[in-house]
Symmetry: C2
Subunit: 164 residues, 2 copies
């Protein structure tokens, strides 16, 4: 799908069909995360892809607002080393994952990681080093319903020419 069309189509999907996502498709999506911009060439990211139903249920249980992870086809936990710009890098990688997923007809939802009380629990569950920064968890799957992107603040309100 065209890039701008995919960016427009992307929205948070929390209900998924009971259809697995092909391993090659997941690899292509994670590859897009890997190709995100990174400050100072740090590439601080590691991507843990979970498809095991029990682990998905455990992740859902640990989060506050990610209970739907349980019904996703897979979840991608994005961890970073603690670099100065890990949150920018990890967020750009997350967005690449969401946009590439949308372009392939998949639904996704960004579940917060950074600043959440449960980071260490997710790291422990997935065997990540305790010092890892959990930037996000992306729930992924084929959408159960037609995606409906939310209305956002109009362009004229957020775009300022030359001065704020």
């Amino acid at each position: 799908m065209d890039a701008i069309k995919a960016i427009r189509a992307r929205c948070s999907i929390r209900e998924f069909k009971d259809t697995p996502v092909d391993r090659k498709v997941i690899e292509e999506i994670v590859d897009c995360g890997r190709l995100a911009p990174t400050a100072r060439k740090e590439e601080p990211w590691e991507f843990v892809v979970v498809t095991d139903k029990d682990t998905l249920a455990a992740m859902a249980d640990i989060t506050d607002h990610g209970k739907f992870i349980k019904s996703s086809a897979c979840a991608i936990a994005i961890f970073c080393r603690d670099t100065k710009y890990y949150l920018e890098d990890g967020s750009a990688a997350t967005e690449n994952i969401l946009v590439s997923a949308a372009s392939l007809g998949l639904g996704s939802c960004w579940v917060a990681g950074d600043k959440k009380h449960y980071c260490a629990k997710i790291a422990e569950l997935l065997g990540a080093p305790p010092v890892s920064k959990l930037v996000s968890i992306v729930a992924l799957g084929y959408p159960a319903k037609d995606p409906q992107p939310l209305e956002k603040r109009p362009l004229k309100d957020v775009l300022h020419w030359e001065k704020f």
Copy 2:
């Protein structure tokens, strides 16, 4: 351009042709920023597009590693309100801008904002409220040379199945 192709084509461009970017193209790119995911529906972002040569030179001068902003066709400063997830939201919006720009044949480079000593100076120059968080500045223009994406850590090193 296809979304995954655009994500793969995107790389940091710091040398630009002396060709202006059409206003409608800039609007489409900023619109992609506006459509980024946002935690708790905060949409904390404001996008200041600078095309004025004197202001571009002043911005370049203020930054540490953004001297090439001076020769860009335009720069987009991305400011956010100070919400809990402003850096995730602003970084996702920045990445949408970079990917949509690449899909339209434009070159871009992400110049750091957050945590930089010059945030307040950029805010003052552009008339943003002093409390604004500068997430990034994106330099934009038609690339002077063929883009050459950097080699990154291979997929097999960053993708972990089920466990870290």
